[in-house]
């Protein structure tokens, strides 16, 4: 310390002489700081600072960034453009869709153009198989779907199963059996898997070759009676195939010399998928008789099939409990899909379902299984969509859960959560809940659950609720922001908007609303026109308003 003081005083003397003298005393770090300081207190502080900097410099750990981090950061700076259509459409006034039907038409035509190109690529793969890109991009190469291994052997059968050729595999299997060579249990099981998944019909590739109808319509099975089975089939299986008595899967199952648990499970799942629940139940009793254990997916399928096995609510719930007990006995761990299946069945159990569903949720929490959006959707359905609406605050609790995190898709029914929740908010006429729901949808990845149709339904309901409950300027602000980028208003929405304008006596906006109606293509809808005209004829409008926008206005002040 004494040395430094000495240095300090000598510096002070030297500073009187010249500022350009470099100091020799003290550490090198002092020089820069001392050049411009003239008081000794600052000098002492700088001396202490340079002492500190002589310690170890700790290098921070190198951060590893995700490959997409830069793109995600850039994307977070760009907001949604409220005047543009969905990004899959071209940004041109002639090519932008006008309303919902138009947007569906255009997106479907683009998709059919893509499948036309894929057809060409499949037909002439020799023009597309040169690998000009480094590294090779496999998804841009033509698919090679012809089996390589010829001849009647088990390896050939395995290859055809791998390439998903249903007919080819079944033919080859029959050939193998006729030739007398045994087929191993594993291969037979994988053949059964293929058959039960595609339902003995054709797989997607083979179906494409024979498809003549629309991409839209599922193939109707004409020889069917009107029965609950038809709805069951529509709800579970979109390809229209129905499980037949003499289908290939059953035939192969019967002639199998030995069967293990996997065979039974596959058959049960296939039967449930393709509309034969009673058979699935019989198969399950067979499985129990053989003392095999079923796996969790089989139990999920069986629980989903319960509403079609029994009619009375109490019986349904008893059967579900039965299955769950069997699960416990066979030491099969339930997963989130199990509980979703239970809740889906409880949807059709009326009052019994309502009483029991909360205990199901508690069971789920006890097992530490995180609920997916489908769980909440089923709960909302049970409590809010039944005939006798009893007041319940469960929606607030559900929203609290949903707001906390961003969900990943785990169940095909997840996608229905947001429209159902918005419908429940509309029924309850609660705008605050709707705002909360909106916020939770924008959080993280939750917006990915809404595809084009559901997006439209969701926002239409939100807009109707807004028109009913909110002030007119808030309504107009949302209207400007939401159309046409998020949804295309339907006739119903324009009706609601007109009524809201009516209630707020804000009729000056009507010319621009009429422009929008014309653009949406609703200018010939009778009831909308009548509503508009009655609003316009209610009052005298000032002079500026009748320029240009109203060919039909009767009250033109001259």
């Amino acid at each position: 310390m004494a040395a430094r003081r000495l240095g300090g005083s000598s510096w002070q003397q030297m500073s009187l002489l010249s500022r350009r003298w470099c100091l020799q005393a003290g550490s090198a770090g002092k020089r820069e700081q001392n050049r411009y300081s003239s008081s000794s207190t600052t000098l002492e502080k700088t001396v202490e600072n340079s002492e500190v900097t002589r310690e170890e410099i700790v290098l921070p750990r190198r951060k590893t960034w995700d490959k997409l981090a830069v793109l995600q950061a850039l994307a977070s700076t760009v907001n949604r453009d409220p005047t543009a259509a969905h990004y899959m459409f071209q940004d041109d006034p002639f090519l932008m869709p006008r309303n919902t039907a138009n947007s569906r038409l255009l997106s479907l035509s683009k998709e059919s153009g893509r499948s036309a190109a894929k057809y060409i690529i499949k037909e002439f793969p020799q023009y597309f198989d040169k690998t000009t890109s480094e590294p090779n991009i496999p998804c841009l190469m033509p698919e090679n779907l012809t089996p390589q291994i010829e001849g009647v052997s088990e390896a050939a059968l395995k290859e055809r199963i791998h390439l998903r050729g249903v007919k080819a595999s079944v033919d080859l299997f029959d050939q193998l059996l006729q030739a007398g060579s045994p087929v191993s249990l594993e291969t037979t099981n994988s053949l059964l898997d293929l058959l039960c998944f595609y339902g003995d019909g054709e797989s997607a590739q083979e179906k494409q070759n024979e498809q003549k109808g629309d991409l839209e319509e599922p193939e109707e099975n004409t020889s069917e009676q009107r029965s609950p089975k038809r709805q069951f089939q529509k709800s579970l299986n979109s390809s229209g195939f129905r499980w037949r008595e003499n289908s290939n899967a059953e035939r192969i199952f019967k002639i199998m010399p030995e069967r293990n648990a996997h065979s039974y499970c596959t058959m049960i799942r296939g039967m449930v998928k393709h509309g034969a629940p009673a058979k699935a139940y019989d198969m399950y009793t067979d499985l129990l008789n053989e003392r095999h254990k079923a796996d969790v997916h089989t139990f999920n399928a069986l629980i989903r099939a319960v509403p079609y096995l029994k009619e009375k609510f109490a019986e349904r719930w008893a059967l579900v409990k039965d299955f769950l007990n069997h699960m416990v006995q066979q030491e099969v761990q339930p997963n989130v899909l199990t509980f979703n299946a239970v809740l889906k069945t409880l949807r059709r159990c009326g009052g019994v379902g309502r009483g029991v569903s909360l205990s199901v949720i508690q069971e789920m929490n006890a097992l530490d299984i995180e609920p997916s959006l489908a769980t909440y959707e089923h709960l909302l359905h049970i409590f809010y969509r039944s005939v006798e609406l009893q007041p319940s605050t469960i929606i607030a609790e559900i929203l609290e859960e949903v707001e906390k995190r961003s969900f990943t898709p785990q169940d095909p029914d997840d996608a229905n959560f947001f429209p159902t929740a918005m419908q429940a908010c509309c029924d309850l006429k609660d705008i605050k809940l709707a705002y909360r729901l909106n916020k939770s949808m924008e959080k993280g990845d939750n917006w990915k659950f809404l595809d084009m149709d559901r997006l439209n339904a969701y926002w239409s309901k939100f807009f109707s609720l807004l028109c009913m409950m909110e002030q007119i300027d808030v309504v107009l602000k949302w209207y400007k922001e939401m159309t046409p980028s998020l949804f295309y208003p339907s006739t119903r929405s324009m009706f609601d908007l007109l009524q809201a304008l009516d209630a707020a006596n804000h009729l000056e906006v009507i010319p621009s609303v009429w422009e929008d109606i014309k653009q949406l293509g609703f200018s010939r809808k009778q009831d909308l026109l009548e509503e508009l005209l009655s609003l316009m004829s209610r009052e005298e409008h000032p002079e500026e308003e009748h320029d240009g926008a109203f060919p039909a206005n009767q009250q033109d002040p001259h």
Binding site: D92, F94, L95, S112, A116, A117, T132, S133, M141
Partner: protein, 169 residues
Amino acid sequence: MAAPVAARALRVVSWSRSCAPPALGAHRDLHTTPVCFKTRAARVRVGKGDKPVTYEQAHAPHYIAHRKGWLSLHTGNLDGEAGAAERTVEDVFLRKFLYGTFPGCLANEVVLKRRANLLVICLVVLQNLAPSKLYFLIGYSETLLSHFYKCPVRLEVQTVPTKVIYKYL
């Protein structure tokens, strides 16, 4: 202007017979094309005043980078970069392909932009076809060209009601 260039015939100029013809009658010939003067390249000749001409066609090549831009943008022609010839061949194929796929609809030359791997094709299209048909063709072209060139291809289409005429020559 989007019409394909007519093939020019090759002309064969033989060396005269007097200087040492090979024994078996085989010839070594010099092949030339007919003369193409650079003063006539890419120029629409002035006529009676009834020929409608777009901005692109009306300007001669010496106006590129002054009044015109480029129709094909890639880095193959920079110093040290490879692949200029391949890009040119791809461009020719793409222009022919698009001329045939959008029959009678192209209002102007196609602009091709290459950014890293991505190929952006900018078209100006007349409003002859219904929007759904145009989207069909757009989806078809994008997928087919992506699979053909093994790189992502994006079409950006702008529509005009009629061809935009700059002047009459």
